[in-house]
């Protein structure tokens, strides 16, 4: 169960929450170029633009990862499995509290 501001945001088994809210895999790109960000938006990929980092949520990231890493990536990028922490950050935001 994830709570925020004294209320429940979501409840479920960790694996289900990950699947429902972020998908299976995550691609993280350091220092993404404007070209990449535009391309990701044009492909209608679910993503978060954090300025110095771009996070793309996907079901099967492998071919997408190859495309991104060979064509757009200069400062390093990673393909990894989605975790509960991704769900947490997506739902509760990334700003510091209190």
């Amino acid at each position: 169960m994830i709570v925020d501001h004294g209320r429940i945001l979501v409840e479920g088994k960790p694996a289900d929450l990950i699947r429902q809210h972020v998908g299976r895999e995550v691609i993280e790109v350091n220092e993404p170029s404007k070209v990449l960000i535009r391309w990701v938006a044009s492909q209608k990929l679910e993503h978060e633009d954090l300025g110095h980092r771009l996070i793309i949520y996907c079901e099967k990231g492998e071919s997408l990862f190859h495309t991104i890493s060979s064509t757009y990536c200069t400062e390093g990028c990673d393909l990894r499995l989605a975790t509960l922490e991704d769900v947490f950050l997506k739902l509760t935001g990334r700003g510091l509290r209190e």
């Binding site: 429940i8 509760t92 509290r97």
Partner: protein, 178 residues
């Protein structure tokens, strides 16, 4: 008893601030229930109500099928709590912290000794048994607090930020060791 914890519409206000604003959930026997949220989300306030430390402003809370507002004494006997802050007794040694705590639960002396022995070994702190807790590192204090939470062989174990300060070697044990 249907649920170990049955919480309905829990609320806790501190003046104007709503720390817990209508939370409901159930925990079944054998379940590991995780409560996640950013700092200040209301996690600690919620669990403090469950172990009878902090009265709720309103709501309905049953633990082991009993009403926490009425039968808190018998409920507390069956709960182990590892609080967020290390609340060890600084005047006592590692070993004494466990033995004295056992006496709060009316555990006979001989039994208290044998549980202390088992728990010291569980957290791999036998060699520090005679040390003052003030001489322990943050991580070792944490391990001792976890051991102390198990002294009454609780039916419900409540851990508030249990892995804070623990090294990666200690963490898997913490999750699966009992």
């Amino acid at each position: 008893m249907k649920y170990v914890i049955d919480a309905r519409d829990l609320r806790k206000n501190y003046g104007e601030r709503k720390a817990v604003d209508g939370i409901s959930f159930v925990v079944q026997k054998g379940e590991t229930f995780g409560l996640l949220g950013p700092n200040g989300a209301g996690k600690t306030t919620t669990i403090r109500m469950i172990y009878g430390f902090s009265p709720m402003t309103s709501g309905n809370l049953m633990v082991f099928g009993s009403d926490i507002t009425k039968e808190w004494r018998s409920i507390k006997n069956r709960i182990g709590v590892c609080q967020q802050e290390n609340s060890l007794d600084p005047d006592l040694s590692v070993e004494q912290n466990l033995e004295v705590f056992a006496r709060y639960f009316d555990i006979p002396k001989r039994e208290a000794r044998s549980r202390t022995e088992r728990l010291l070994s569980f957290v791999s702190m036998e060699h520090r048994r005679d040390d003052k807790v003030t001489s322990l590192s943050g991580g070792l204090m944490r391990r001792l607090v976890i051991a102390r939470a198990l002294i009454n062989e609780p039916d419900l174990l409540i851990l508030d930020e249990p892995t804070t300060g623990l090294d990666p070697q200690s963490r898997p044990d913490c999750a699966t060791g009992w």
